[in-house]
Amino acid sequence: MNFEHILFSIEDGVALLSLNRPEQLNSFNTQMHGEVREALKQVRQNPDVRVLLLTGEGRGFCAGQDLSDRNVAPGAAMPDLGESIEKFYNPLIRTLRDLPLPVICAVNGVAAGAGANIPLACDLVLAARSASFIQAFCKIGLIPDSGGTWTLPRLVGMARAKALMLLGDRLSAEQAEQWGLIYRVVDDAALRDEALKLARHLATQPTYGLALIKRSLNASLGNSFDEQLEVERDLQRLAGRSEDYREGVGAFMEKRTPAFKGR
């Protein structure tokens, strides 16, 4: 399948998915949703892929929904935005969260609306120093979607989440790092290289185990302490049966560098 609105490649275990509608700040329209879905399907089905890197082309990361798709004419029937959430955004967010591999997001510029919340569904978020996060929904009478109302208060606390979402102010990348919204800020020119370096490193690691770590941390957010202890027991049981665990212990005992295969 040829993509028009995204760039997609797989190399050395790293799948690189870049949103590519730079003139529209990579905002989502129906076709881009379809292309992203197809690319993520390939990521899921290709056993060679061990890490996903998500980023954007041009000066923005993603401006959320393309509002020219959403113009409400006077007198027109009431739109059902829930349908677009159900059909496009929720499946995308669930897929990123459930992918059994680490997902890195390199936020290369402005991230607004759904574009500000998609990174929060990823596992490791780097941002360019000039990037910013804007919960723009409140400016047009909407509520933040794409999981933002769930993830943001867990990342930065309720007080800051409410302020960001009720005011819609621009949050700089550096502030986002200080608040714990993202993992790390990188100089603009170095972002792509740093993100790729991180992705290539992770692609050599025991990625099956990394996927289980991701799964256990995701599960922890909805679990009680006792439930989570049981999740740890079960996922450790699975991890202990992996080839990579055997290789890891073997390499440690033999004082050599392990060669992990991600299974």
């Binding site: 999740v231 079960d234 996922l235 049981r237 699975l238």
Partner: protein
């Protein structure tokens, strides 16, 4: 040799039956249902078998009936359907039956899972009765066992809209007793089967019968049955052994007599 099932004995006393029609997401055609009924008949007769675990694949426990096969039957064909006898055979199985459900358990697949005494589900399991979407309705206990398991409102909603529920919802509603990581569903079901297999077989059998009585009789009759069953066990050697082992602080050795 069954063609649509794989049967093994992974633990002493425990038989594992795996539905295997991957090309059709384990859709329950007459052949599969017949083979399953025959396997349960064998398990019923086999004194070594103390509990049975029934499972499908990671993707589907069983995704429904075989629609093509069903479409071929007219009214008379359905009246004379051999499947009814197979379902009855499965329903009267007297040993503990544990379903380990991953993926889809829809239509006949959901009904089959509900024939089990204990349901263990993987996190991504989905239960539903989508028959209504085809202009038909559940025909193997879906309207009866589901209502008894989850109550009227949810059962009505599921049967009348055809919409499925996920494993956690099924657990909250009481349809399944435990939710596990999908990779461990069968293992957990086998553990439970193993635990049951180590108990006194006659006590297990009568206890199962008494519990099932609660679903289709009034409380007074159920209590009467329970008391009779309880009394019956007083005549067994296993009861003596069980009580003595408890007093002597050792593990009981049951022989099914």
């Amino acid at each position: 040799m069954p063609r649509t099932l794989v049967v093994s004995t992974p633990l002493p006393g425990v038989r594992l039956i795996t539905l295997q029609r991957p090309e059709a997401l384990n859709a329950l055609n007459t052949e599969l249902l017949g083979e399953l009924a025959a396997e349960l008949e064998i398990a019923e007769q086999d004194v070594e078998t103390r509990a049975v675990v029934l499972t499908g694949s990671r993707k589907a426990f069983a995704a429904g009936a075989d629609i093509r096969e069903m479409a071929e039957r007219d009214l008379v064909g359905i009246l004379n359907d051999p499947r009814v006898a197979h379902w009855q055979r499965i329903a009267v199985f007297s040993k503990p039956l544990i379903a380990a459900v991953n993926g889809f358990a829809l239509g006949g697949g959901c009904e089959l899972a509900m024939h089990a005494d204990i349901l263990i589900a993987g996190e991504d399991a989905r239960f539903g009765q989508p028959e209504i979407n085809l202009g038909i309705m559940p025909g193997a206990g879906g309207t009866q066992r589901l209502l008894r398991a989850v109550g009227k409102s949810l059962a009505m909603q599921m049967v009348l809209t055809g919409e499925a529920i996920d494993a956690r919802h099924a657990q909250r509603a009481g349809l399944v007793s435990e939710v596990t990581q999908p990779e461990l569903t069968v293992e957990r079901a086998l553990q439970i089967a193993r635990s049951i297999a180590q108990k006194a077989p006659l006590a297990v059998r009568l206890a199962k019968e008494a519990l099932l009585k609660a679903l289709d009789t009034d409380l007074a009759s159920g209590l009467r049955f329970e008391r009779h069953a309880f009394t019956l066990l007083a005549g067994t050697a296993d009861r003596e052994e069980g009580i003595r082992a408890f007093q002597e602080k050792r593990r009981a050795e049951f022989h099914g007599c």
